[in-house]
Structure formats: structure tokens, C-alpha cells
Amino acid sequence: MNLQDFVEKFAEQFDETDANEIQANTVFKDLDEWSSLIALSVIAMVDEEYEVALKGDDIRNASTIEDLYNVVKAKH
């Protein structure tokens, strides 16, 4: 798995946010559109694409998208 790919798939979970605003170092919880509902979509995407079970705490403890990528990568 690679980081760029993960960032793109992460960005696909947003409807209103411009994909250019979503980069590896983006603090995703600061995005206006971020919500617990988007979190569900991210969990589903990670399960589907990487067969990794992401916990609520994994998301809560991550700050940037790269942080989350590293969690997924470690479990992959």
C-alpha cells in the first residue's frame, strides 16, 4: 500500500470538500465536513480496500491522514 493512494481514497469519502484540500499532512478533523458519519465511511473504505479493522480510537488518536495511514499500514 502507498500513501498517495490512501490519501486519494480517504478524499473520496468527502462530498463537499475539494480533493486538493486533502493532503497527507492535512489535520482531517479540522476539515469543515469532517463528522462521525465521514468516520464510518473511512472505516468502511479501510475494511474494503485494506481488510483492516480500524477502531474508533485509531481515528480519535490520529491527527493527520498520514498518521492514520501508518496505523492501517501497521495492521495491514
Binding site: 462521525s36 464510518l40 472505516i43 468502511a44 475494511d47 474508533g56
Partner: protein, 353 residues
Amino acid sequence: MALLQFDNVGISAMAACVPHTVIDNYRYTQYFSEEDVRKVVDKIGIYERRFADAKTCSSDLCFAAAERLLKETGIERNEIDLLVFLSQTPDYRMPATSIILQERLGLKKSVVAFDINLGCSGFLYGLSVIYSLMQQQNLHKALFLDGETRSKVYSPKDRRSAFLFGDAGVAALIERGEKFGKSYFSLNSDGSKADLIRIEGGGYRHPSSLDTLRERVVDEYGNIRNDEQGYMRGSDVFNFVIVEIPKDIKRLLDVTNINKDDVDYYVFHQANEFINSYIAKKLKLDFAKIPSTIHKYGNTSSVSVPLTIVSELREQLCHSDKRLLLSAFGVGMSWGTAILHFADCHICNIVEL
């Protein structure tokens, strides 16, 4: 996975009751902006729910369903030997609601009656208990009442649960008969996840007090509830469900050597549309075989599986023999899968109370 197997026992009739008050979810905006509400409702696919009024309990919904069932099937009340009421919203902390229903329904005093306390997985657990007791040849007919008024459990000011739940009650008649063939259940429990969905206060661990009734802001999103209202850690529940539920379904199909194409209908606990469609997609199931009531009744906890059967499969199940796979999961965590035959099942039209 505990695997249970039964021969020649099944559901011969079903009825369901929903409260008459319809909640339009897009207009459930007294505490949140229309824009916020729209986003949540679109994601969960729950457009309407039914709310019981302050005077109506789960048992009242079940009572109305049971009366309809007894009337339409012409069963004599004294033929009922076993009465099980399953709910987490009983009339009283004691006595058991099933005993009160024995009198209300005019059942004989020699009836075996007790309550079962389980949430969303409850219908499967209740059936397995009744199927087990029905191995006793002196028990001829069992009445299974499963009801919930979850609208009274959650805070309308907590957006993580405010738009999900609705109320309903069902009645199912269980009998022996060769036409029912073999039934299989896989039942599971994981208490390490007891804190994912819970009502903290009002039990004996944290008894009712002024403190448990005090409303407070509970998270960074500004959600408000008190400790006698339920909470749900949605993303952890979701994470649990998308891993464990497909696994349990696959395992039961494997052990029983039943091909997934040989199942006529898959009836899932109606959690929310996002979860349900994700599970179906993950299992590569034919969506035409998956009846759904999530859009009109919301999540009615343990009642959602039988309510969906009554609402959506009435014509399909009468005068025919169909194989159904039921899957339910929730608070506990407690979850299960069942594969059952429905043979000439009489299903009543839904009653409104």
C-alpha cells in the same frame, strides 16, 4: 460459535403492531439545524419512524399484535403453554412483564412465562430458547412476544442516536410440525464490548439519583444526554459489525452446507441503511433477496427482524416453503445468525395502535 440445531419446530403465524405516530426524520429538527439533520438522515436512510406515546409500553404493542394473531388464527387461548416476552423496555423492573401479559391475554395459569432481556440480537435468542423448550412434548403452542420502545431510551439532543430508533412489537406463534424441517442457530457474545452501547445509570451498579438524571454535554460535538439515556459508540459498533457479522453468516452457511443461493430471503437487523448495505455488499448478496423496513420504521432493536418479515414478506411466506437466513447484532455485544424454514406461515397485516 455455538451451533444449535432443531428438528420439526417453527413459526406458524406472526403479527406486528406499530404506534400510529409517524416521525418524519427530515423534520425532526427541534434541536439541530435542517442542514445537519439532512446529512444524517441521508446517510442512515431512515426517513420515518414510529413513536409510542407516554402511556404506551412495549407490552401494549405486543398485546395488540398477539390479539390480532389469536383472532386471525382462531387459536384458543388455553392452547398456549409457553409465553416469552423479550424486551429491554419492560413495564416494571419487577415483576416480569410476561406474567402481566398472561393475565391480560387471558392465558391459563399453567402457562410457562418469563422475560428475556436482550437487545438487537434478541429475536434469534428468544426463538432458540423457545425451540429448545418445545422439545418437551407436553408443550404444544408457544407465544413469543418481542417489543421495544427505544424512542424512550435515547436523548433527542444526541445526534449519534436521535435519528435512529423507533418503536414496535411483534407476536409469533411457535409449534411443532414436520413441515418445518431443520433449523440452525449460531449464537455469540462478547462482553469485552459491553461499553459500546449502554445505559449507565438507573440499574443497580449506578442507581437512579439526581446525578444520573442531570443533562450534560457529553462530547466535542455538543451532544447532550443524561446517564439514564442510552449512548452508542457508533464507529466502534460499525467496525465490530462489518467484521463479525459476515464471518458468522459465512460460518453458519459452511457448517450447515447450505449454499447462499439456496436461501430465499436474508433478513437483517435493521440497524441503519449504511451498515446494512455495506454488509450485503461485502457478502455479495442479491439485494432482491433482502427485504428492508429501515426507511419507514427505523431501528426497532430486537423487533426489526420479525417486523421486517411481517411487513415485507407476508404474501411470499403464506402457502409456500421458504428458507430464510436471519442475522442480528447489537448491544452486549450479542449477535447471531439463524437459518429457518417458513412453511405456510400465516402473517397478519400490521396493526396500528
